[in-house]
Amino acid sequence: MAATDPMLSGGADFRTRLQNWLPKIVLAPSFAVMVLFVYGFIAFTVYLSFTGSRMLPSFDLVGFQNYERLFRVRQWDTAIINLGIFAGLYIVISTIIGLFLAIFLDMKIRGEGLLRPIFLYPMALSFIVTGTAWKWILDPAIGLEVTVQRWGWESFQFDWIKDSDMAIYTIVIAAVWQSSGFVMAMFLAGLRGIDNEILKAAQMDGASNFQMYRRIILPQLRPAFLSAFVILSHLAIKSYDLVVAMTDGGPGTSTWLPALFMYEYTFTRNQMGIGAASAVIMLMTIAAIMVPYLYAELREKN
């Protein structure tokens, strides 16, 4: 662009040229740092996934061997299936709860100013804190189960966190608790952005509240749905700390997620090559979600 600028090609003085270049010069260091530490290391990880690295990085290429092994390791299957369960439920439930909270708050109820921060508050906690708190709440020996039993409901049972088939759902519970308020805030912003004139016109035509939401408001919230989906799905894929704090992958290996798998294999099992391969798969999964989204966003702008 700069080269075709008539000001420059026409022999502009030093000052104008400097003015043109200054932003680029100022941005250059941070750009270089980003290229190196984000894209450089992504490239390095991709390279490592094709090497026989064990404890320390090594540079002997072994082809697709790490990927072949990765897909034969049972814990990877567990991690992928868990990710499916976790991400699916987490995204759907958070979106539904967030949407309903936003709709109720939008009914011009009293005390909205008080309720909004209360719903949003969990987002201010880190996943580690959320996980630790929920671990205690769900632990049958000290949490919910024993409390309800002491209240007199002797047969009450809720020991999912100790049950290898159900433990992954307890992680969904904690994650949904953490994120619903945030989703609500996004939808609320969307709802507030809808033109009141259209709603008034619909009301004049005799549309019921339900019809208004179904036909007018929800379709207009499409961008908010999309952002919620993108943000929640990448939170789900990179989810690590919540699982570590709540179950540490247990009971057994039943709550492993891909991010936990990646850390374990790379840093504690001296299988850096397989760990790198799993990281690449995760990156590709995120890219598969993000690229179409970015593409759609950018096309709309044009």
Binding site: M55, R72, R74, K162, G250, P251, G252, N270
Partner: protein
């Protein structure tokens, strides 16, 4: 002029001697951060201070040391290795294979380490025939810890066989106690599993399956039986075991809620801290079926290769201090383990400590001394963790015993 010259030489001498003093220092990376462990390590620090060697402490919290190993990896990759690092089993071999460790042969020769350290332990302290680490202790992992009062109340004698052991646990369970205190973490499941493998097939089978990784042993009938025994034990553990720390399981035995715990000798520290005495309030005996054998892990100090001669000298001083009988006694009395040297007077140890030292010497003689798979002394971390996955999945009911044995073969094959 002469004044000036004197001044200069004086300054030079001062500068030289300070730099010599500065160099006399060891930087030690370790994960002994809990009360008793830190106290034990202080013994070494003061010992070195006595010979004028400074101590830069680099503790990395985290019981199993995996965090410490991550830090170490970063330090070494950055070209700034600590002088000495606390290490376990195969990590030493891995680092030696990278060519990162110093050679201690001359010192070992001079102090006769070859004679006083059991051969099974030397397998980890040496690489390619050269000494690269100084062993501090031997933790044996096939112990049962028992509550004496509860045993008397229930009329239980110390079980001699596996059948007796199961019967004893059944008695405790029928009386409403937790028979076996256990924490459901992968390494704890594996610690118990070690003893089951040893109990079912003895030293030969342990060697073939856990160390030689022979597929026939790994997937064979004896392995299925070892898993069956794990399932039996699972029946005697309370429902809330998952994720429990080992010391909380020990507390259950201390408080008399539970009868037995299968755990390494570090559990003794919990009993002693609770004011109990070995042989009185609590008992220790080998897991029935594993008498005469010892599965162990051993803490060692590996020395990283350094160029500076002063640093090399302080490394040798530290290795000497670690191997000195006085330190081995002082440290292991506090830590609960047995000394790495077999020529040490047992009189300052308690009943369990003396039994451990006697067993260790006997097992060393008879070839019954084996590195513990659960603690990274039988096979490399990649295989060890793959085994953990199978053992813990079986213990949590995901596999039956036959499937688990098949999975052991696959897991080992995939991670070799």
């Amino acid at each position: 002029m002469t004044m000036m010259k004197k001044l200069y030489t004086g300054a030079a001498v001062v500068a030289l001697s300070t730099s010599a003093v500065m160099a006399q220092e060891v930087e030690v990376l370790h994960w002994w951060t809990s009360g008793g462990e830190a106290a034990a390590l202080n013994v070494l620090r003061e010992d070195l201070a006595g010979s004028g060697i400074g101590w830069t402490d680099m503790p990395v919290a985290g019981g199993g040391g995996s965090d410490a190993m991550t830090v170490l990896r970063a330090r070494v990759t950055a070209g700034d290795a600590p002088t000495a690092v606390q290490m376990l089993g195969f990590s030493i071999q891995d680092w030696a294979a990278e060519g990162s460790l110093a050679n201690l042969d001359a010192l070992a020769e001079e102090q006769n380490w070859n004679e006083v350290v059991p051969e099974a332990l030397q397998a980890f302290s040496t690489y390619d025939g050269h000494w690269v680490a100084a062993p501090v202790n031997v933790h044996s992992t096939n112990w049962v810890w028992a509550n004496t009062a509860l045993m008397e109340e229930l009329g239980i004698e110390q079980p001699e066989t596996w059948e007796d052991f199961v019967a004893a646990m059944q008695t405790a369970q029928d009386a409403g106690y937790t028979a076996l205190a256990h924490g459901g973490q992968a390494w704890q499941d594996a610690t118990v599993f070690d003893s089951m493998v040893m109990g079912v097939g003895g030293p030969e089978f342990y060697q073939a399956s856990m160390i030689d990784l022979d597929p026939e042993a790994l997937g064979g009938a004896q392995m299925v039986e070892a898993f069956d025994r794990m399932a039996t034990l699972r029946g005697f553990v309370d429902d809330n075991f998952s994720g429990r720390d080992w010391n909380l399981a020990s507390a259950m035995v201390i408080n008399g809620e539970a009868l037995f715990q299968i755990m390494g000798d570090w559990a003794k520290g919990e009993f002693v801290n609770a004011g109990q005495t070995a042989g009185e309030e609590f008992q220790c005996f080998r897991v029935p079926g594993t008498e005469g054998t010892v599965t162990f892990n051993s803490d060692q100090f590996a020395m990283f290769g350094v160029d500076d001669e002063g640093d090399q000298a302080s490394q040798l001083a530290m290795a000497t201090a670690v191997m000195s009988p006085e330190f081995q006694i002082a440290f292991n009395v506090v830590k609960g383990s047995a000394p790495a040297r077999t020529d040490i007077d047992a009189s300052s140890f308690d009943a369990c400590g003396q039994a451990a030292m006697a067993d260790l010497a006997a097992a060393g003689e008879s070839g019954g001394l084996f590195g513990s798979m659960a603690h990274g002394h039988a096979n490399p971390p990649s295989i060890q963790n793959a085994m953990f996955d199978v053992i813990t999945a079986h213990f949590n009911g995901e596999y039956d015993s036959a499937t688990a044995a098949e999975e052991m073969v696959t897991a080992v094959e995939l991670n070799q």
